[in-house]
């Protein structure tokens, strides 16, 4: 069995990122190892993996599907999670 096989099976939370956050993390998604936890836990893990994004992350909201979620909400690995930094449309 290849060593990467185990990695691929370990639960991962994929989080969509946009705009300046995408530039800071170097892509349109971030992946963090996920055995369950809250939005606050996900924030901490993303900040640890992407230190340059920490400041903007602290000013950002989280969404699951098309709803915003507070820091105490639990996230499942298959949730459609996104980080929403301060907006600038119009």
């Amino acid at each position: 069995m290849l060593p990467s096989d185990h990695q691929e099976r370990s639960p991962t939370l994929r989080i969509a990122v946009f705009a300046g956050m995408a530039d800071l993390v170097g892509g349109r998604t971030v992946e963090i190892p996920w055995s369950g936890g809250t939005v606050a836990d996900a924030r901490k893990l993303v900040a640890e993996r992407h230190p340059p994004a920490a400041t903007l992350l602290a000013r950002s909201a989280f969404a699951v599907g098309s709803r915003y979620v507070a820091d105490d909400v639990s996230l499942a690995a298959d949730d459609d999670v996104a980080i929403i930094p301060p907006v600038s449309g119009g």
Binding site: F18, A82, I84, V87, S88, G89
Partner: protein, 159 residues
């Protein structure tokens, strides 16, 4: 909810909201709110500026969480209809690259009298800038791109 007038029970929700990746047809946006029940029709068009505070903007680039942006735009549109007693309302935001002079956003509102239509367009633009998960970057002539994430902006959705 029962009909407001005649045989048009959905009149209070007339119009639509959305994001597009092509030029906004502003004449069509305005035409879409026309009604024999309306006496005031307001079209606001936000366009890309070629300079901001002396710095030249080569283009604006818009990114969005599209499902959430469309849902939020439509919720604001329906809120505006209820708040201002509009006959119809259409909101369209452009995504992707927008050149100076081109439309970034168009809001049309129609109401029995003009005051409500003007007030609704102003209220909608403020709400769009505050609440909708859309972001703009200014592309400089040298190729640099700066995403705007205002310091003063509250977290969308109240955090």
């Amino acid at each position: 909810m029962s009909g407001t007038r005649g045989d048009a029970p959905t009149q209070r929700h007339a119009g639509h909201a959305g994001c597009v990746c092509h030029a906004i047809d502003t004449a069509r946006v305005l035409a879409a709110v026309g009604s024999i029940d309306a006496g005031g029709n307001v079209l606001f068009v936000g366009t890309a500026r070629g300079t901001t505070d002396g710095a030249v903007t080569h283009a604006l680039n818009y990114d969005a969480h599209e499902p959430l942006a469309v849902a939020t735009l439509d919720a604001l549109r329906q809120d505006a209809i209820a708040r201002f007693g509009l006959v119809a309302c259409v909101v369209v935001h452009r995504l992707g690259t927008v050149l100076p002079g081109e439309a970034c956003v168009a809001v049309a509102a129609s109401a029995p009298h003009r005051a409500a239509a003007f007030a609704a367009a102003e209220w909608l633009m403020a709400a769009i800038k505050r609440d909708v998960p859309i972001w703009k970057a200014e592309e400089r002539p040298d190729g640099r791109r700066e995403w705007l994430h205002p310091e003063s902006a509250p977290r969308p959705g109240g955090g």
